[in-house]
Amino acid sequence: MTLRPRAPSRQTRDVLTVLLQRRGEWLHGYELTKLAGLSSGTLYPLLIRLHERGQLEARWVDSAHPGRPERHVYRLSPQGVALARSLEREADHPALRPTQAIG
């Protein structure tokens, strides 16, 4: 069976939707699991894939709470925003399917 480029999974859409709604904010992994309703086991492979495709920006920030470790935080890159918007449009108009393959 050849694995063709396929539509993004529901989980990918959920994460992109959350990140689009909160664009401009840096969100950490735990926060994203809660907002998107995903487990860490689903979230991390998805974030890694989006990051490798240049659709997600990641950086380290110091914790706001003293004594707590630094955190890895995420937001959509301009490319990710474009993808999330195209998926949003597709949801409104199902005939418009994005041609870009993501996980």
């Binding site: 069976m1 950490h28 992994g29 735990y30 487990s39 086991g41 689903t42 991390y44 955190r71 890895h72």
Partner: protein, 174 residues
């Protein structure tokens, strides 16, 4: 809710294991898992987080794919062995379905290899019997070469089982 100490400790060990697996290919993400684990709120179950990290490390590195050759050989060997010494069509069908499902799950990309390996194993055993005249003692009748060809139809259930496994494998990696 206070998380029992043993759960927190076990979660730490599992998260470290996940990070170790991920470190070679995605060092930043391995570090992120450990730091995030340390920041979990007190009312959050750390074990659920840790098991998720463990799963993520397997999915992200696709380590499961490395098991494919072993699973393929073991599956075909089990089917050949059962066909030779066993005598139960339900068990044989269950074995065929189970092997197809497992191979599809492990490596959706090798779908057709799995289908052909699983679907043609029984026919190959029958062809071997027909050519060599060797057959297990519980088999009374000798198979003709022509009659063995119908066993190639087992490709159909193999295809179905492998397809289910492949879809599940792709879903898990999604």
């Amino acid at each position: 809710m206070t998380v029992p100490r043993w759960r927190a400790q076990l979660a730490d060990v599992l998260t470290q294991l996940a990070a170790r697996r991920l470190r070679a290919t995605h060092p930043d993400w391995a570090r992120a898992m450990i730091k995030e684990r340390a920041c979990l709120p007190d009312n959050e179950d750390p074990l659920a987080w840790a098991f998720g990290c463990l799963r993520a490390s397997w999915v992200a590195t696709d380590s499961v794919q490395a098991l494919y050759p072993v699973a393929l050989v073991a599956g075909v060997a089990a089917m050949t062995g059962y066909e030779w010494i066993g005598d139960g069509s339900f068990a044989a069908a269950a074995l065929l379905g189970g092997v197809g499902l497992a191979l599809g799950l492990i490596s959706p990309k090798r779908f057709w290899v799995s289908v052909l390996a699983v679907g043609l194993t029984v026919a190959a055993v029958m062809v071997f019997e027909a050519f060599t005249g060797l057959r297990p003692s519980h088999e009374v009748y000798e198979h003709s070469l022509a009659s063995t060809l119908r066993w190639t139809l087992l490709v159909m259930p193999a295809l179905a089982a492998t397809a289910v496994g492949s879809f599940a494998g792709r879903w898990l990696r999604a």
